[in-house]
């Protein structure tokens, strides 16, 4: 029933366990369960555990590893460690839905009109399709706190811009294919920008600096420019508990 685990090394420090070839919230639960298992195992030479779309990467300190296992190859060690690990539904932790306000007004959404036109939709329909889904956070990457989320309704899926923008404003919400994401900082970027959130996605001063984590569930709701201004002033750094 179970496929054998596919484990490969990418350099001396990074081991990746690839669990699936499918990008889906269901398949990703297994990714998160394995990340949690590895975290709890607390191997002393493991420096980081990075969940991604289809698998988990483990970053080790090879010198510390070799002090403990002088004659072993990290890849083979991990095979042995995970030999008995199997995903089961009991390991599932369902995250509460985090609600994120987005202003979809054209001033905040340079690509929403073009996206609507390309998809034969009205702007309101694009907003409705974007806000009706509960998205799954597959991974944090690209820049500090950037959440890769999906899956976007097929009707509003749009490939990346052919020429990336030199500056996307912090808080911008974008679509790239079946993914949606939020830029935590001003940056160059090629995603179709359809709105902007007043929420701060990343704050290095916090113990947990990212608003969103891999495995989280997210739903957007529409706000107007006045509400955006109001929330920008009183932006909660993190969700109220």
């Amino acid at each position: 029933m179970h496929q054998p685990l596919r484990i490969y090394a990418c350099g001396e420090s990074v081991l990746t366990i690839q669990l699936t070839d499918i990008i889906s919230p269901e398949a990703h639960r297994e990714v998160m369960a394995l990340a949690t298992y590895l975290h709890d195992a607390a191997f002393p030479f493991v420096q980081d555990i990075i969940p991604a779309y289809t698998g988990v990467s483990v970053v080790i300190d090879p010198i510390a590893f070799l002090q403990q296992y002088p004659d072993q190859i990290p890849e083979q060690w991990l095979q042995v460690q995970l030999h008995t690990w199997r995903w089961s539904a009991e390991q599932l932790v369902e995250h509460p839905i985090k609600k994120i306000p987005v202003c979809y007004a054209p001033d905040f959404a340079p690509d929403i009109i073009a996206l609507a036109a390309a998809k034969n939709l009205s702007v309101d329909e694009v907003i409705q399709l974007h806000t009706q889904m509960v998205y799954h956070v597959y991974m944090i990457g690209f820049m500090p706190g950037f959440p890769y989320m999906g899956n976007v309704a097929e009707a509003i899926q749009m490939p990346r811009l052919s020429v990336p923008r030199t500056k996307v404003v912090a808080g911008s919400v974008g679509i790239a294919g079946q993914q949606t994401g939020i830029y935590p900082q001003d940056s160059p970027g090629g995603w179709n920008i359809i709105g902007r959130t007043p929420y701060r996605l990343f704050d290095a001063a916090q113990e947990q600096p990212c608003l969103l984590q891999a495995g989280d569930r997210v739903q957007f709701y529409a706000i107007d420019a006045d509400e955006f201004a109001l929330l920008s002033k009183a932006t909660p750094k993190f969700f109220p508990s």
């Binding site: 490969y8 090394a9 990418c10 350099g11 001396e12 420090s13 990074v14 990746t16 070839d21 990008i23 420096q47 980081d48 555990i49 990075i50 969940p51 991604a52 779309y53 289809t54 698998g55 990467s57 970053v59 300190d61 090879p62 010198i63 070799l66 190859i73 890849e75 991974m139 944090i140 990457g141 690209f142 820049m143 500090p144 706190g145 950037f146 890769y148 990343f202 600096p209 990212c210 891999a214």
Partner: protein
């Protein structure tokens, strides 16, 4: 009282070994480009090897020391001068208050590392380019007056332009010809290369198919194959995830050598196996430990004798 940047360099900043363990937040580990020379500089002044040092690119800053200090320079040779006295790479020196350190020409390597006994205060911030007028605090190191280069030198990594690679997860996405070309042809480090990555210019490497890779974590040393068939070598400030095929990974023991190759220089690659790569890394670590012990011993002896 501290060291003052009296002329800003091209890109000078305080670096350490980087922040490990935050890549799952999208935070790149960063840290020194040449982690070996950074540790050599620390060994020369008797610091713990992880202590933050100044990473200098050429043209490098001019720095005035307002307190006496024990300092060391390692990595690239930028023709350092303490006031008017030549100061050699991979050595330490005792300097009195008011000494100015300048760099006159780029003789060898791309990045120099400046350590001070007791460490730099990192209040100016890690990995923030140092501007003219910025001062960085350090604890003074009292000694008899005069500039005194110390009479020993750390052995450096020998420069080498053939760097060693581990096979990457997507090596077999390349045509057999491209797999051979990777280790038969030379690649030039493009002018747009920086601390994030080196763009390598050379023969176009053909893929067998146009399959797309789903993004996953990447690390320093990974060679990514871009859609145009050219490669990028990820360096200290790389993005944390990537979706380009990874035909190969530069072994960790050779990453400091790559960090000393500047833009416009040409490098070649050869294959290595994982056990050999791990052994090379262990040997490098052992060399650093021996250097640290030797430096501590010589320093103690020397400082007692003056």
């Amino acid at each position: 009282m501290s060291a003052v940047i009296i002329k800003a360099g091209l890109l000078d900043q305080l670096v350490d070994l980087g922040r490990k363990g935050a890549q799952h937040w999208g935070i790149t580990p960063g840290g020194a480009m040449d982690t070996y020379s950074m540790q050599v500089a620390n060994c020369l002044v008797g610091n713990p090897r992880v202590t933050a040092v100044l990473e200098l690119h050429f043209p490098a800053a001019a720095i005035r020391f307002d307190k006496p200090a024990l300092i060391a320079i390692a990595g690239a040779d930028f023709g350092a001068k303490l006031n008017d006295i030549d100061w050699f790479t991979n050595t330490a020196a005792l300097i009195p208050a008011g000494t100015t350190l300048r760099f006159t020409k780029q003789l060898k390597g791309a990045r120099a590392y400046l350590a001070v006994k007791g460490g730099w205060s990192i209040a100016a911030g890690l990995q923030k380019p140092l501007q003219k007028g910025v001062s960085i605090a350090y604890s003074p190191f009292q000694h008899a007056s005069g500039i005194k280069p110390l009479p020993w030198r750390a052995s450096a990594l020998l420069p080498r332009y053939t760097l060693r690679l581990l096979r990457g997860p997507e090596l077999d996405w390349l045509t057999p010809d491209a797999q051979q070309a990777l280790v038969q042809h030379a690649f030039t480090i493009a002018p747009s290369s920086n601390r994030m990555g080196y763009r390598l210019q050379g023969i176009v490497l053909e893929k067998l198919h146009q399959q797309e890779l789903i993004s996953t974590a990447v690390s320093r040393g990974v060679l990514q194959l871009l859609p145009d068939g050219q490669m990028i070598l990820l360096m200290a400030d790389h993005q944390t995830t990537g979706g380009y095929p990874r035909p190969a990974v530069l072994i960790q023991a050779d990453q400091p050598l790559a960090a000393q190759c500047g833009n416009g220089e040409t490098i070649q690659f050869e294959w290595m196996d994982m056990p050999e790569a791990l052994q090379a890394l262990q040997e490098q670590e052992r060399d650093l430990r021996i250097l640290q012990q030797a430096c501590n011993f010589r320093l103690q002896e020397y400082l007692c004798s003056i």
